[in-house]
Symmetry: C2
Subunit: 207 residues, 2 copies
DNA sequence: GTCTATACAGGGATAGAC
DNA sequence: GTCTATCCCTGTATAGAC
């Protein structure tokens, strides 16, 4: 959090209300009036603390990015089977998305809606942390001989993170499918895909 | 397409303009005025042909779903290696998302923004086609002994489709990462993940 | 720092002429 | 079926009192 403490309490309420509403209804679907009402301040007060609606949105977004970027460290344990190490990462990652639900949704929205400048911002803030962290782990595993040389680490990272992200965003839809019984168990899903991926990229046949 | 031919040409222009704008700017970010302008008709004309903004949106969305639902058949070839069959499916799927770019974006938006009723609609229209098609293929492969029994077919399907969807929606961000060199080659990505997944779920060691 | 009141633009939607 | 003109509301943002 980059929030200073000498700011009045109302600023915090505005930011929280904005985060909730932006994440639920999107930027265009959220009005300053609604935010002001939820934060129990007047519209003018919102504009006193934030230059514009867009400035407020960016502020909220930055907080979400920081929160998300900080939870990566130490996610991958130092020892154990490839499958278990990947599984721990995937399971934690998906639960973090759940826990930071609103921030996750904000960021997902930006992935779709954001223009190129915005996407660059996320690439640098969020993606570069999560992605590169996972990436270097896979590269290390290649060098140590656990992972086959002919797999592209970036593809593996995208595969794992992408499946997790998709699970998060589509679970409302997935649970309508009869054959999908895991929609209420994110961590389980994370471990299941890790198992498949680990088998898929492993050099040693550890069945 | 459920479009009747006895409708005036302007209706088609309205629908096309709406599809473009809704997919680029979202429902709330798109005004009827903007649609009317792009379709070269008056606002009142839009309301003459469509009951409300929401009705127009749903119509556009339905077309997108139908277009998408229809391209599934025959995607999985009858013969060949598991890896190649999955690869063909994934490659075609990801290219279809590119080709139907606007429709894909519309549907992705709904995955995030839609309420429960909407998500049910997609589950029945789009997901049930793509997902179940892939699902039954994996189940068949389990019965014929190509795929291990301890993998959940639904997880495999989600893994593959999810990675593809994530690639589509995040490629603007991914291309900002130095280590990701596949962002301009969707089909390649589809094949690469199929290879990993096929290895991961295969019973026979076909390396 | 907080409010009420207001300016002004644009939103969705309708009336009624042609 | 298409238009212009209009209604009414809500949007962002500001002015100015306290």
């Amino acid at each position: 959090m980059t929030l200073q403490n000498n700011k009045p309490e109302s600023v915090g309420r505005i930011l929280e209300a904005a985060e909730i509403l932006f994440s639920e209804k999107g930027f265009e679907g959220t009005s300053i009036s609604a935010i002001a009402k939820a934060a129990k301040v007047s519209k003018a007060n919102v504009y006193h603390h934030f230059e514009s609606k867009e400035a407020l949105h960016i502020q909220v977004l930055k907080s979400a990015c920081e929160d998300f970027g900080n939870i990566v460290n130490g996610l991958i344990s130092d020892t154990g089977l490839l499958e278990d190490r990947l599984g721990k990462f995937a399971g934690t990652h998906i639960l973090d998305m759940e826990r930071r639900n609103r921030g996750t949704r904000l960021i997902l929205r930006e992935l779709i809606e954001g223009d190129q400048n915005r996407q660059l911002l996320f690439a640098e803030n969020v993606a570069s942390n999560h992605f590169k962290h996972l990436l270097s782990f896979i590269q290390d595993s290649q060098e140590s001989g656990d992972v086959r040389e002919d797999v592209d680490p970036a593809v593996v990272a995208t595969l794992l993170l992408g499946a997790n992200v998709f699970f998060f965003m589509a679970k409302g839809t997935l649970q309508n499918l009869d054959d999908f019984t895991l929609s209420d168990n994110p961590a389980h899903f994370g471990h299941a895909i890790s198992k498949i991926i680990a088998h898929g990229i492993s050099k040693n046949k550890t069945e």
